[in-house]
């Protein structure tokens, strides 16, 4: 589904990704772990198409098409979703209005009819349950004045609305207490299927107790230096990232 080969990316002439390879197939959950500044969030942003980053070499192939010429909106329509580490607050635009525009633009791009108000509301109600989010929160300005937990739940709600093929969760656990973490993880797990894939970017092993990965990759200095199964995460938690540094 996702095939990344020799990816090099930089921001303002600072090289961050230095030849990264990653292959994700449908039905899989991958965890990307790594210390601060290793390039985890950059990877997430580059896949989603953030224009601040320059891809200087390598390729990202998604579902058979090369992504580098596509804008973030086009990538989203292809089925890529990024749950933000820091969801943006947008005064004056309600989440409901935002999602209605987004869902219908994605549908249109895929040759489906736009949802009318009634259909949309029905879909929204159904997805709201998944992350235990209230309607009044969604009729407010996007993320404005939301608590950390509410923001992350809103991310997963949007993911549920858009039903992406590939979901990238960028440090979704940061700033969450244990209850919120459970709600968010349950949401992600409920959306999992054989058709879609999830990439979880995280610092800590904690999240992986709830969203169990098939593969764990360690990202250091812009490259994946080690891959394994979920036990790798436990080992990292115990021994720290220095353990890998020493080994290399």
């Amino acid at each position: 589904m996702l095939e990344i080969k020799n990816l090099h990316a930089s921001i303002d002439d600072t090289k961050i990704l230095k030849g990264l390879n990653l292959s994700v197939s449908a039905g899989e959950v991958h965890a990307i772990m790594g210390p601060n500044g290793s390039g985890k969030s950059t990877l997430a942003s580059v896949i989603a198409g953030r224009e601040d980053y320059d891809v200087t070499d390598g390729e990202i192939n998604f579902g058979g098409s090369e992504l580098s010429d596509l804008g973030p909106d086009e990538r989203a329509r292809e089925g890529i979703f990024l749950a933000f580490q820091y969801p943006v607050e947008i005064p004056g635009v309600s989440t409901t209005n935002f999602m209605k525009t987004a869902v219908n633009q994605v549908r249109e791009a895929n040759g489906e009819k736009p949802l009318d108000a009634v259909q949309f509301l029905k879909l929204m109600k159904e997805k709201m349950k998944l992350v235990n989010i209230k309607q009044e929160l969604l009729s407010r300005s996007i993320n404005e004045g939301f608590s950390g937990g509410e923001k992350k739940r809103n991310e997963i709600f949007q993911m549920a609305m858009l039903e992406p093929k590939l979901a990238i969760l960028d440090e979704t656990d940061s700033g969450l207490d244990i209850d919120a973490l459970k709600i968010v993880s349950n949401g992600v797990n409920a959306l999992k299927s054989n058709e879609n894939a999830t990439v979880v970017v995280t610092h800590y092993q904690r999240l992986l107790d709830y969203i169990v990965p098939d593969f764990v990759h360690v990202l250091m200095d812009g490259k994946i230096v080690k891959s394994g199964d979920k036990n790798l995460a436990l080992e990292l938690e115990e021994k720290g990232y220095d353990w890998i540094k020493v080994k290399n």
Partner: protein, 422 residues
């Protein structure tokens, strides 16, 4: 330069005694007003541009067949006032019975006395050269008398039609009686797409506990416009000004509010979306003269390529005006490297027990917000539209009347659609 002999002739030729007195006084004000020009028009080269376009400041009074003007009024309007080239066309206006609208020169003695205390008494013709010229060159002052305890639902629209190659002068005086509540919506309509010039001066006297909503919208393509609104508020009165500007070769708005007694409330809201090399300048001032009054000002604008926005907000708090609350904000979004905004708050406070705040911002579209919206599948164009219209909502939200608010929201959406090119 301004041709003084031409202005002198205008004074000489005036037959009405009171008007002649006003014009004589204004003639003497030419020099003092000119002194302020350099500072007050620092970013708006208005006089130079007008002088290049027009050989004379003399007005025109030519008026075509009335039916042609009637066609400019939408069917949806209930009450409307049609003024063409400064002359009130009563025949094709639709007036509510509650309000007396007449030319000053045709007033009864009683009404004359009411307006004599305000006519050219509260305007800025001793300060701004364009108002000085208006005071000298206007031919008719249209008076609006709203008797005490008159409460009018809905709005009265004022259509100022500019249909002349010569400068056009509009002059109005409002007297809003005690405990009255009214709404006016003023539009400036030019029959040409370019190069016409109109100069409008309005004085509004608000008696105790009166309530006024005043809307102005300006979308005049490549024409020129000067507009000075001067308000004099008595105790417990509430004024709400809503100014929407979209295009104009140069538009200059002066909004001057004097809160002369206790417990006045003045709200000034403005929104501009400037495109097609337009230049829009909002100069406001609010003068807190007595204690416990509140003024609230918020102007927001979006400026497109090669266009210019100017904002200057003065707040005066006099020594006697303790317990004043005065707030001011001006926020701008520049859509292009060649868009420009000059914004300046100007506060002068003599009282010591007051709450004042001000803030100006000039920025660009928030790229983080844009990326966030686009990452959900929304195109750049639609994401931009969403953000820009969201930017305008805290101004349109201030419109109490739902129909009027929706009308302005739609107007803004249409304008943003044109602004938002890929």
């Amino acid at each position: 330069m301004i041709d003084a002999s031409e202005l002198k002739d205008s004074v000489e030729n005036e037959n009405d005694l009171v008007t002649k007195e006003i014009k004589t006084k204004s003639l003497k004000n030419i020099a003092p007003s000119f002194k302020n020009y350099r500072e007050e028009y620092k970013y708006t080269p208005f006089i130079r541009r007008i002088e290049k376009k027009f050989s004379s400041f003399n007005p025109s009074s030519d008026i075509k067949n009335h039916e042609e003007y009637r066609e400019l009024i939408p069917d949806s309007e209930k009450y409307y006032i049609v003024i063409v080239n400064g002359s009130f066309l009563k025949q094709i206006s639709s007036l509510p019975v509650e309000i007396e609208i007449n030319n000053y020169k045709g007033l009864t003695k009683e009404n004359r006395e009411i307006f004599n205390s305000t006519y050219s008494k509260t305007d800025d013709s001793n300060f701004d050269i364009f108002s000085t010229i208006n005071s000298i060159q206007h031919q008719n002052c249209l008076t609006f008398r709203i008797n005490k305890s008159t409460v009018l639902d809905g709005k009265i629209s004022i259509y100022n039609i500019v249909d002349s190659k010569n400068p056009v002068y509009f002059r109005k005086c409002f007297h809003i009686g005690k405990n009255s509540k009214v709404s006016f919506s003023e539009k400036f309509i030019y029959t040409s797409h370019e190069s016409y010039f109109s100069n409008s001066v309005t004085e509004i006297f608000m008696d105790e506990n009166s309530n006024l909503n005043y809307f102005t919208d300006q979308n005049i393509n490549k024409n020129y416009h000067y507009n000075s609104i001067n308000v004099f508020q008595k105790k417990d009165s509430i004024s709400n000004f809503h100014t929407y500007s979209f295009s104009g070769a140069i538009i200059r708005n002066n909004l001057n509010i004097k809160l002369t007694e206790k417990n006045c409330y003045a709200n000034m809201y403005g929104f501009y979306a400037i495109k097609n090399s337009s230049h829009i300048d909002n100069h406001t001032s609010v003068d807190h003269i007595d204690e416990s009054s509140i003024s609230n000002e918020h102007y927001k604008g979006i400026v497109d390529k090669d266009s210019n926005g100017v904002f200057n907000g003065k707040i005066y708090v006099r020594q006697k005006a303790q317990k004043t609350n005065a707030f001011q904000a001006n926020n701008n979004i520049l859509l292009s490297d060649s868009a420009k905004v000059n914004t300046k708050p100007q506060l002068e406070i003599w009282a010591d027990d007051v709450k004042c705040s001000h803030g100006c911002t000039v920025g660009q579209l928030d790229e983080d917000a844009l990326f966030y919206l686009m990452s959900r599948g929304i195109s750049r164009k639609d994401a931009t539209s969403l953000l820009l219209s969201a930017f305008s909502t805290d101004i349109t939200d201030k419109i109490e009347d739902e129909d009027i608010r929706e009308n302005y929201e739609l107007m803004i959406l249409r304008e943003l659609e044109e602004l938002n090119h890929e």
